[in-house]
């Protein structure tokens, strides 16, 4: 089954890197949407269903924290597993993002297999509760 994902990061280079890692991961990636901040991501999600979202934290306009809050308030979008991908390794930040609803947290730099494993884990959490 193809996996449709949304990558949210204000850096086009980082989005491109994550997309490449997903392509190389062995996961069957179908549609791969991209947004440069949380606000743009929410607009995309209004009309496009994805199986997972990978998001940065520090972004202009709407950061990752607010993005997670807005997803959690939404009756349907809250079902999409979100994986945070960030340079911030502090435990307090990780716990905060998980509390806000993230299913996983990957710190940059990350090995391609780490991203794949975390993404699979996040998807597994959702599958397990259906």
């Amino acid at each position: 089954m193809e996996l449709h994902v949304l990558i949210v990061d204000d850096s086009p280079a980082m989005r491109s890197f994550i997309r490449r890692v997903l392509d190389l991961s062995g996961l069957e990636v179908g549609r791969c949407l991209e947004a440069s901040n949380g606000e743009e991501a929410l607009r995309l999600l209004e009309n496009n269903w994805v199986d997972a979202v990978l998001t940065d934290i520090n972004m202009p306009q709407m950061d990752g924290e607010e993005f997670l809050r807005r997803l959690a308030e939404h009756q349907v979008l809250r079902l999409i597993p979100v994986l945070v991908v960030s340079t911030d390794r502090t435990e307090s930040r990780i716990q905060k993002m998980l509390t806000l609803g993230a299913k996983g947290y990957v710190t940059k730099p990350f090995a391609p297999e780490t991203l794949r494993d975390e993404l699979e884990h996040s998807l597994g959490v959702v599958h397990g509760t259906e």
Binding site: P12, A13, S16, F17, T87, T90, K108, P109
Partner: protein
């Protein structure tokens, strides 16, 4: 914080980031300003600030030729396909990740706010004026230089 502790953190962070996400290997590394070879060549220099405990600044300088090599590795493209703006952006990401890694090694339990990387016209090999730690890394295709300045705790 001891100078050798900072140097060790710089070395480990740069090697981790380059090997994990840029598929580049460090051939040699030492503290201080970079060897003069290639001095004056066009370079991309990026700086950022961090606030926390402690606060400070961080800078990465990469010759343009090396920036294209590491950008090609990061983006999965040929060097010739990498534009100057893409190389600048990739060096910015490199600075961001190295800085985050260094800070977590120096203060694993502290929370830092890192600003977005900014391009700066500084020549390669030139560190922060005044107190600061400089270290250079030979990647074969050129020398990358990093500078860390630890300021006052906020």
């Amino acid at each position: 914080m001891e100078p050798n502790e900072i140097q060790a953190a710089l070395a480990a962070a740069v090697e981790e980031v380059l090997e994990t996400m840029y598929f580049s290997t460090v051939l040699a590394s030492a503290d201080g300003a970079a060897p003069s070879e290639g001095g004056g060549a066009p370079a991309i220099t990026v700086k950022l600030r961090f606030e926390g405990s402690p606060s400070g600044g961080f800078r990465v300088s990469v010759p343009l030729t090396l920036a294209r090599v590491v950008s090609a590795g990061f983006l999965g493209r040929e060097e010739a396909e990498v534009s100057d703006s893409q190389a600048e952006e990739v060096v910015g990401e490199l600075a961001n990740m190295i800085c985050g890694s260094v800070l977590s090694r120096l203060q694993s339990d502290a929370t830092f706010q890192i600003t977005h990387p900014e391009l700066t016209p500084t020549e390669p090999g030139v560190g922060f004026e005044g107190a600061g730690a400089n270290r250079w890394f030979d990647l074969g295709d050129g020398i990358l230089t990093v500078s860390l300045e630890l300021g006052q705790t906020v």
